[in-house]
């Protein structure tokens, strides 16, 4: 409870982790606010069905609040004036000169604040992916502020969890993105770092995942626990194995 997990991918696509956490938390009975910035609802829905969860059903019973960023952006830019008299768009910052993510934060807060009749096992904020906000004009400071406010409300006040995906490359020249990623790493309780293999593409091992438990955040003298696994993604699940022990190798 109250944990901040950072999903980080380098030279590969870590979105399989997002699909995993989404279906994991829904199956566990948590209320999930999913800020999906880069893909459509149907994309996540189709994959979730393979993993045994129906996103449409979850949405209908109020368990899943889904912000489809692409659609929201189109509504903001091409929508009629009358439609926008109500709630401000969560992605309002795109059409404004200051990159203030307050509207997005308000959306998250409203979605996860309990209404009294709820009986969810927990609350979760899931973001895929944070790096897109920089491409849309938000400054790194605005993005970090947004994450900070979300942590205060979701983790500290509501005792929920936050899971965020970011992209990063070791030799990246995107300084703004690296700034955000490094800052988030320092404040994360758990980091799942997915990387393509250094040796190049392999059919049976799609990459390696480093699991970093930030024990050092809680106990001053402790080292972080690091575990490394390799993985292979299949149609309906992902298999993990110790390094060098892929079935193809043995």
């Amino acid at each position: 409870q109250g944990k901040f997990t950072l999903l980080r991918d380098t030279r590969t696509d870590g979105s399989f982790l997002v699909h995993h956490f989404l279906s994991f938390y829904l199956r566990a009975g948590c209320k999930v606010c999913f800020v999906a910035l880069l893909q459509s609802f149907s994309h996540y829905n189709i994959v979730a069905q393979k993993l045994g969860v129906s996103l449409s059903a979850a949405k209908e019973r109020g368990q899943l609040v889904f912000l489809e960023g692409l659609k929201s952006c189109l509504d903001l830019l091409f929508g009629e004036e009358e439609e926008q008299s109500g709630q401000p768009s969560p992605l309002q910052f795109i059409s404004e000169s200051d990159s203030n993510l307050k509207a997005l934060f308000d959306f998250v807060r409203t979605s996860l604040t309990p209404t009294g009749s709820d009986s969810w096992k927990g609350l979760v904020l899931l973001v895929d992916d944070l790096s897109v906000l920089l491409s849309l004009g938000a400054t790194p400071v605005a993005v970090l502020d947004f994450v900070h406010y979300c942590r205060v409300v979701v983790c500290s006040q509501l005792k929920g969890n936050v899971v965020v995906l970011v992209h990063s490359n070791v030799d990246s020249e995107d300084e703004e993105n690296e700034l955000v990623v490094n800052s988030l790493c320092h404040h994360s309780d758990l980091i799942l770092w997915v990387e393509g293999l250094a040796t190049g593409f392999c059919k049976d091992v799609h990459g390696q995942m480093k699991i970093i438990r930030r024990v050092s955040l809680e106990l001053a003298a402790e080292q972080d626990h690091v575990q490394i696994y390799q993985y292979k993604i299949q149609d309906k699940n992902v298999t993990f194995f110790a390094r060098g022990l892929s079935a193809a190798v043995l």
Binding site: D13, S15, F16, H19, L38, Q39, S40, S42, H43, I46, V47, K50, L70, K71, C73, L74, L76, L77, F78, I94, S95, S97, S131, V132, L134, S135, L136, G137, H167, N169, S172, E173, D174, E175, E176, N177, G200, F201, K203, I233, Q234, D235, K236, N237, V238
Partner: protein, 211 residues
């Protein structure tokens, strides 16, 4: 489903020395966007600090999608076709963007915002879009990383002209290399990665071959 062969060829036959026959394209509805003509009209789209050429292009695409029924909004229009969009030299001076000509562009976010909105338009309609970007002109590599993340498929063509590879006997039959930087992972956990990673291309009057 194709059985693996030692060399897989992707190629379509065309002839750049001839013009297309009128019957071929008269039967299809074509729309074009010519920026100097569009500049005279006012954009109706809400401004989002994107440069005006991109704004007008987005508006034009949105209008075509809506009017021709590619977004399924009009059930009367039985749309059995896909809208295919081609955009050339995005990011270049032709579109009023200075990211190709300046180290410190005036508006670094115009191109990425454009791509994001375009992505939204494509996702909610029956359309596909292919864009060319003169990546060799863009000084700021961060922009290219963001452009890649906002795209589904990213393919790079690297010409041998002017590089030492031009005289390398290994490459004598080819004109350049094909780099597949990214392939889409849509509606599925897995993506279809091909076995061959080293691809080169050959451009002739009648054939573009990738081997």
């Amino acid at each position: 489903q194709a059985s693996p062969t030692t060399s897989t060829k992707f190629g379509h036959y065309y002839d750049v020395s001839k013009t297309m026959s009128p019957e071929l394209f008269q039967s299809i509805k074509c729309h074009s966007f010519y920026l100097p003509e569009e500049l005279s009209s006012q954009p109706k789209m809400k401004s989002c600090n994107v440069n005006s050429a991109y704004t007008r292009l987005l508006q034009s695409i949105q209008r075509i999608i809506y009017q021709e029924g590619f977004d399924g909004s009009d059930p009367q229009k039985k749309q059995k076709n896909i809208l295919r969009i081609g955009i050339q030299s995005l990011g270049s001076l032709l579109w009023g963007d200075d990211i190709c000509s300046s180290d410190t562009p005036e508006d670094i976010h115009s191109l990425t915002k454009f791509l994001y909105v375009l992505r939204g338009l494509l996702r909610k309609s029956l359309s596909a879009c292919i864009i060319t970007v003169p990546a060799h002109l863009i000084q700021n590599k961060a922009i290219m990383e963001r452009v890649t993340n906002l795209s589904d498929t990213v393919v790079g063509l690297e010409s041998f002209i002017g590089s030492e590879r031009e005289t390398n006997p290994l490459y004598k039959d080819y004109h350049g290399l094909v780099h597949v930087h990214q392939i889409p992972r849509l509606n599925s956990l897995i993506c279809d990665v091909s076995d061959t990673k080293d691809l080169a291309f050959r451009l002739k009057r009648k054939l573009f071959t990738i081997e």
